[in-house]
């Protein structure tokens, strides 16, 4: 029964996608009804599965799962199936909630119930509509998204991808979901394909993640070749893992190390880690902020989920773990430094996402399996909250922009200010999300998950990782407070901000629900030392049970807790103090070109990779190689044949065959004929003279010769 539900989890969104695309795309209420209904069904199924998982004793050893034969390979079959173990149960829990909230939120965000825009065209964001009230006054109001139904189709497919990925019991269907989400992110980032920036961002996102994907595909092929299976059951069997660890591969790494690295590169792409982080900030071109939220809170989590899933394999080779820790901690710090200099409310969150994912990766690199998973879940909740909140802010700002007719960038934080009074629900929920992100002590979920990461890094002796993450956490609190201060505190800096208004209930209700989780979810993972051992660290025991040898709970350590408290509170305070007074972007001391331009990574990549690729494609391979070299060779063969043919014709056929044999015979006959015709005078007497003369000659000859 449970297995059936798990099989069915991804299906409602898929059906919803096909239904909307094929049948209901003209009908907006029906389309979002189907989509939200499908998300609701999946949510219900997920909750049932989750509750059943909670009710199972020693769930890590008695996971749910079933598999079917999918691909015949020789005499055996490759099986695919579903599996819910503690880790995927935890993930499916947050996926179900966030997905459902996104779906509901999208209805309001895309201005359902508003009139169609005056000049709105498909492929561009709605520009607003003019309506007349009872007194004949004309107002500009937001207009409904022209491609409303299509959006719900795309996010339904997206949800299908995410569910597929989570319930998979093997890497292959995980990869299927992974790539389907890649497609959806491409479609959603490029949703407003009329904008050049959106088109470019969509391609950039797809291509950058695909760099990681091809490595991951190699890793999957390697793993499959080495173990003969892709099912977690088989590959995480201690015996199989042992073989992988002892089998040498390349570059002095074991097979496990190489596979781990290849798979991890997939994560680097999907979870936007350095050096493949460049796509995520640009992905904010999608419909604000829903796709952004998908990209930041859901899909990128898939990358981290995959490495957490593969942790038993990764942990076999110390080199791989070191590499993972390096990439994670470097990204955490690197992205945080960029985030402090961004003015776009979504860009800050985008870089913050990269940075937070770096925290998880770094945690995993230090071996903190549970901490990484815990931060994954809490981060999903509070980052979803923040993105939806920022969308709500932008939506409110756009309302103000339409109302006043003032042309300002509705996403630039320096155009905001004082929004706490205009948008109270958004403000309070955003504040909760921001504090959770900063790790505000005790209350918020972010504190507990981040604290666990610090404790693990410190406790296992990864001091460098610990220090780097601490600095990153300080910056996180700082830029979060900068964002909150600039957006909500102070006085409105533009007319649009003065006339911003709170968003409809379809948008605020998801914010409130997610805010509850952003606070409450931390409590399930409170360490034993805090509760005095009264409540065990539930999350640790639950998720830790996924591994064959559940990790130890760390004892209380003073240094990480102190650090955690200091960086969170210090960062928040510092941010508040600095930005309380800042009135415009010019007065912001952090507007450093190097940071604003994201360390020039786009430019460097354009020079190093994009340009050469263009050159190879447009100049080298099809023009120079095919046209010049290969076709040139063929043409010279053709030319040589032509030359040979002409030579034969001119120097053999013409003079010998034609001249000598063909024409020559004719000419000889003709010449002899015209010579001889002279004797054919037509005069009989002449003939007779000749014949008599010949007769006489012959007679004489006969006569004399006989003699």
């Amino acid at each position: 029964m449970t297995n059936w539900i798990i099989w069915l989890l991804p299906l409602p969104p898929l059906l919803s996608f096909f239904l909307i695309i094929l049948f209901t795309n003209k009908n907006r209420p029906l389309s979002h009804g189907i989509a939200v209904g499908a998300a609701g069904l999946s949510w219900l199924g997920s909750m049932i599965v989750f509750v059943r998982a909670l009710g199972t004793e020693e769930f890590g050893k008695h996971v749910f799962g079933s598999a079917i034969n999918w691909l015949p390979t020789g005499t055996s079959w490759l099986t695919v199936g579903v599996r819910i173990d503690p880790l995927s149960a935890a993930v499916v829990f947050f996926v179900a909630w966030t997905v459902l909230m996104i779906f509901i939120y999208s209805i309001g965000y895309h201005n359902f119930g508003q009139p169609a825009g005056d000049h709105d065209i498909k492929g561009l964001p709605p520009h607003g509509a003019t309506v007349a009230d009872d007194h004949g006054h004309k107002h500009s109001v937001p207009s409904i998204e022209p491609m409303y139904a299509r959006f719900f189709a795309f996010i339904s497919l997206f949800a299908f991808g995410m569910y597929t990925l989570v319930v998979s019991d093997n890497l292959l269907t995980l990869f299927v979901g992974w790539e389907i989400m890649g497609l959806c992110s491409y479609l959603l980032i490029g949703f407003w394909y009329g904008k050049k920036s959106a088109r470019d961002a969509a391609v950039k996102a797809f291509m950058t993640t695909r760099v990681g994907d091809v490595f991951m595909l190699l890793g999957i092929a390697f793993l499959y070749s080495a173990t003969g299976s892709l099912s977690y059951n088989v590959i995480f069997d201690p015996g199989v893992l042992q073989t992988l660890a002892s089998r040498p591969a390349f570059l002095g790494l074991s097979a496990a190390g190489v596979i781990g690295l290849l798979l991890f590169i997939g994560t680097i792409g999907k979870s936007a880690q350095w050096p493949l982080h460049i796509w995520l900030p640009d992905a904010m071109e999608g419909p604000t902020p829903v796709s952004a939220m998908i990209h930041a809170a859901t899909m990128v989590s898939a990358g981290v989920y995959m490495v957490i899933r593969m942790f038993p394999l990764l942990s076999l080779d110390a080199h791989t773990l070191t590499f993972v820790a390096f990439i994670g901690s470097f990204t955490a710090l690197f992205a945080a430094t960029i985030a402090v200099a961004q003015n776009d409310i979504k860009k800050v969150l985008a870089y913050s996402t990269i940075s937070q994912l770096g925290f998880m990766i770094a945690a995993l690199g230090t071996g903190a399996y549970v901490a990484a998973a815990f931060h994954l879940v809490t981060h999903a909740f509070f980052k979803a909250l923040l993105f939806l909140g920022s969308g709500s802010v932008i939506h409110g700002m756009e309302h103000g922009v339409l109302h006043t007719g003032e042309h300002v960038d509705a996403q630039d934080m320096f155009n905001m200010g004082g929004l706490r009074r205009k948008m109270p629900i958004t403000f309070w929920t955003f504040l909760i999300g921001g504090f959770a992100l900063s790790g505000f002590p005790v209350l918020t979920a972010g504190f507990w998950s981040k604290d666990e990461i610090f404790a693990e890094a410190f406790g296992t002796g990864h001091l460098l990782v610990f220090i780097v993450l601490a600095i990153a956490a300080f910056l996180t609190a700082f830029y979060t407070m900068r964002q909150i201060t600039l957006t909500f505190f102070g006085e409105p800096r533009t007319k649009a901000a003065e006339h911003a208004s709170e968003t409809p209930w379809t948008m605020t209700v998801p914010l409130i629900v997610l805010a509850v989780f952003a606070v409450g979810y931390g409590w399930v993972g409170m360490p034993g030392w805090f509760t005095g051992g009264l409540i065990p660290n539930w999350f640790h025991e639950f998720v830790g049970g996924t591994l064959s040898q559940p990790p130890e709970t760390l004892p209380f350590l003073g240094v990480p807790v102190a650090t955690s408290l200091f960086v969170a509170l210090g960062g928040l305070l510092f941010g508040w103090l600095v930005y309380r007074k800042v009135e415009s972007a010019e007065k912001d001391f952090l507007q450093i070109p190097l940071l604003k331009n994201k360390y020039y990574f786009d430019e460097v990549y354009a020079f190093l990779f994009v340009k050469p690729a263009y050159w190879i494609s447009e100049t080298f391979s099809s023009v120079f190689m095919d046209r010049k070299v290969i076709d040139g060779f063929l043409h010279s063969v053709a030319r040589f044949s032509l030359f040979l043919g002409n030579a034969f014709r001119n120097y053999f056929d013409k003079p010998f065959i034609n001249g000598l044999i063909g024409d020559g015979t004719g000419a000889a006959v003709k010449a002899s004929g015209s010579g001889l015709r002279k004797i054919q005078a037509g005069r009989i007497q002449y003939y007779m003279v000749v014949s008599i003369a010949i007769l006489v000659i012959f007679a004489l000859l006969v006569y004399f010769l006989r003699a």
């Binding site: 009989i684 007497q685 007779m688 003279v689 008599i692």
Partner: protein, 103 residues
């Protein structure tokens, strides 16, 4: 037997030569035809003379002479008819001018 065979032969040869001369030298088609007749008759003289002197028991010589006469008669008939026909169309009897077949 007073006259020897050679005399006949000489007569025939002279006659033949006269005929030949007529055929070769004359331009008038009728004259040419007459020359041909002379030559034929020279042959006839030869035939008869050889028969009489060499083998009188055989009839061959006489028979041949008669055949030649018959042929000559036919020839004259056809030849004169052609000449008259040509003359009617071309108003000439000069052999050189009758050159329609000439290239």
């Amino acid at each position: 037997m007073s006259i020897p065979l050679s005399w006949y032969l000489i007569l025939a040869a002279v006659l033949f030569c006269i005929g030949l001369y007529g055929v070769l030298a004359r331009k008038n088609a009728i004259a040419i035809l007459l020359g041909v007749e002379l030559m034929l008759n020279a042959v006839n003289i030869n035939l008869v003379a050889f028969w009489r002197y060499l083998d009188p028991a055989q009839m061959g010589g006489q028979v041949f002479a008669v055949i030649v006469l018959a042929v000559a008669a036919a020839e004259v008939a056809v030849g004169l008819a052609l000449i008259i026909s040509v003359y009617r169309r071309r108003k000439t009897l000069v052999a050189d001018e009758i050159d329609l077949m000439k290239w």
